[in-house]
């Protein structure tokens, strides 16, 4: 991404957002405070990043924080459609709560639902946070977190009368 486009983008987002450019993956990483999240998202959408291609969480138990990452890219604006934006905001592990961006990007609907059931991040304002991939009895175990060991957890599922694997 040419440097002046980068400057224009970070200038647009105001000083708070930290912008880093990963040249090999055409990835622009934007770290944002939780409060700032919504208006940065709205600015990005108006700038041209019109859909969300992935929502996920990178879990750091040692630093006791979870990074919630929205990956955005653009269908409509062809000069930026080459790049992916990684909109990152960090959340505490004890009470993981973040504003849901489904009203900004409707395509984040099922992605946020899956991230909720896998990590337990509560997306405030999401219209329909039911489990998507996992059965009801696994809600609450947040299987994709680092502290969920695959082997040990299988016995608990057996004890609770879960499906025998």
């Amino acid at each position: 991404m040419s440097s002046e486009q980068l400057e224009k983008l970070s200038g647009l987002l105001g000083g708070t957002a930290k912008v880093a450019y990963n040249e090999r993956s055409n990835l622009i990483r934007i770290e944002v405070e939780r409060g700032e999240l919504r208006n940065v998202a709205v600015q990005l959408r108006d700038y041209g990043f019109d859909h969300c291609s992935s929502v996920t969480v990178v879990d750091y138990p040692k630093e006791d924080l979870m990074e919630v990452v929205w990956h955005l890219s653009s269908y409509s604006r062809s000069e930026v459609s080459r790049y992916t934006i990684g909109l990152v905001t960090s959340v505490s592990r004890s009470k993981p709560e973040v504003a849901s961006l489904t009203d900004v990007w409707e395509s984040a609907l099922f992605l946020e639902r899956e991230t909720h059931e896998m990590f337990g991040v509560n997306f405030v304002g999401h219209p329909d946070l039911r489990p998507l991939l996992l059965p009801e009895e696994l809600m609450g175990t947040w299987p994709l977190r680092k502290d969920y060991q695959l082997k040990k957890k299988r016995e608990d599922v057996f004890k609770k009368g879960g499906a025998s694997l």
Partner: protein, 406 residues
């Protein structure tokens, strides 16, 4: 005389507050159903009209992301292929590209060309599989058998190359595992010619078949603006008129050296999605021919890796064109950092996000597959249609449940 389908409330809130009138029947088009595949489509039907659809997926969820966290990097290659079993080369290519972007290595040109050739053959097979499922969902077992049988020449091609029918695990960080056999070019040309004169039969029996036209034209309409808002991918996006193909927007693996066009349609209904796939098969044939003509010779694994091979491995590589795995490959530990790679699979954009902490196994590995991105078709596009349109829309978006569940 296609009657106007009332505009569908696009926002999810409007859908979830839809009041259920008393005469509504809740249909569980469940996992064990001839028209649902490995998922349950819960449809609220009033008379013959679908009022609301809620897809309940996850029946074939393997947990690829969790499994990859305590396995060395190379082990994830066969695992990544399994969910999108019909388009294995693109899935494999996406993961390996993310790994190469972490490691900072580049495969030699010949390996890039072989990747493009196998990826395009895999795209043709994926489109043929999509047409087959579309056919059987609309009731024509002929097109199902034809499309499945027409994959056979391509399966035979890649079987000569890699030794497996579908799960090739052909692409490794830094290049590919086998070189093209000698008569690969002629066989490929024969297979492509066969498919070209088969499209005439498909046109007569399927594409211009009046029952197909009547059944799919105007069904599952999605405007370009709606497609962008719902974030759908692949042929379904292009059939709605959005000209977006990752091979053109963010070219990878030698795609910028070939000239091919990205076909788009305007109507965005099930019929144009079918035509979109046929057009894309023609473009893939065009690409394969160019790639085979201009195939550079040279190594199929990057130089530094070849130097580390033992004399026995070098002998095998020179004689049989087979890449042996050196210790470098089994104990990959890329530097700390993250990488994103996007690949235009047969069904659409495959998204890979790899975070490494310098260890032997990926710290976080995120896969988003095209079928998962096409889920909004169920909730937003199907309501308002007839019950008989559910399999038509389901078949036209080429939804593959194991790929959506990962």
């Amino acid at each position: 005389m296609t009657q106007e389908i009332k505009t569908i409330p696009f926002t999810y809130e409007a859908l979830s507050q839809l009041k259920m009138s008393e005469g509504v029947l809740e249909l569980q088009i469940g996992p064990a159903h001839a028209g649902s595949g490995h998922m349950r489509i819960v449809a609220w039907v009033e008379g013959d009209t679908v009022v609301k659809v809620d897809p309940d997926i996850g029946f074939v969820h393997r947990g690829v992301e969790k499994l990859s966290e305590d396995r060395i990097y190379i082990k994830a290659i066969p695992m990544v292929e399994r969910p999108s079993l019909v388009d294995t080369v693109n899935a494999n290519l996406g993961y390996v590209m993310a790994l190469e972007r972490l490691l900072g290595i580049e495969p030699p040109p010949r390996a890039q060309y072989i990747r493009v050739i196998t990826a395009e053959i895999s795209r043709i097979m994926s489109h043929l599989y999509g047409i087959a499922i579309y056919g059987i969902f609309m009731g024509s077992s002929t097109v199902f058998m034809w499309a499945m049988a027409d994959r056979e020449p391509f399966i035979d091609l890649l079987q000569e190359l890699t030794g497996a029918r579908i799960t090739y695990s052909h692409i490794i960080p830094g290049g590919v595992r086998w070189d093209l056999p000698k008569d690969f070019a002629e066989n490929a040309e024969i297979a492509l010619k066969y498919l070209e004169n088969r499209t005439k039969d498909y046109e007569k029996v399927w594409i211009n078949n009046p029952v197909v036209v009547a059944r799919s034209m105007g069904v599952g309409k999605l405007s370009a603006e709606g497609a962008i808002r719902l974030g759908v991918v692949g042929p379904n996006l292009r059939a709605s008129g959005v000209k977006y193909d990752i091979r053109k927007e963010e070219p990878y693996a030698a795609y910028e050296e070939f000239d091919f066009e990205v076909p788009t349609f305007k109507e965005g209904d099930s019929y144009s999605r079918l035509l979109q796939r046929v057009e894309e098969i023609k473009q893939s044939i065009h690409i394969i021919r160019q790639a085979l003509k201009r195939l550079p010779d040279g190594k199929i694994i990057y130089e530094d890796y070849y130097k580390r091979m033992s004399p026995l491995m070098k002998k095998i590589y020179d004689e049989k064109g087979r890449v042996k795995f050196t210790l470098m490959l089994t104990s990959l530990s890329p530097p700390k950092g993250e990488a994103v790679s996007r690949v235009e699979g047969g069904r659409g954009e495959m998204f890979y996000y790899l975070v490494s902490d310098g260890g032997k196994a990926p710290y976080r590995f995120r896969v988003v597959t095209p079928s998962f991105r096409n889920l909004p078709f169920f909730t937003h596009v199907m309501p308002g249609h007839k019950l008989a349109d559910i399999p038509v829309i389901y078949g036209s978006i080429d939804y593959f449940p194991p790929e959506a569940d990962r």
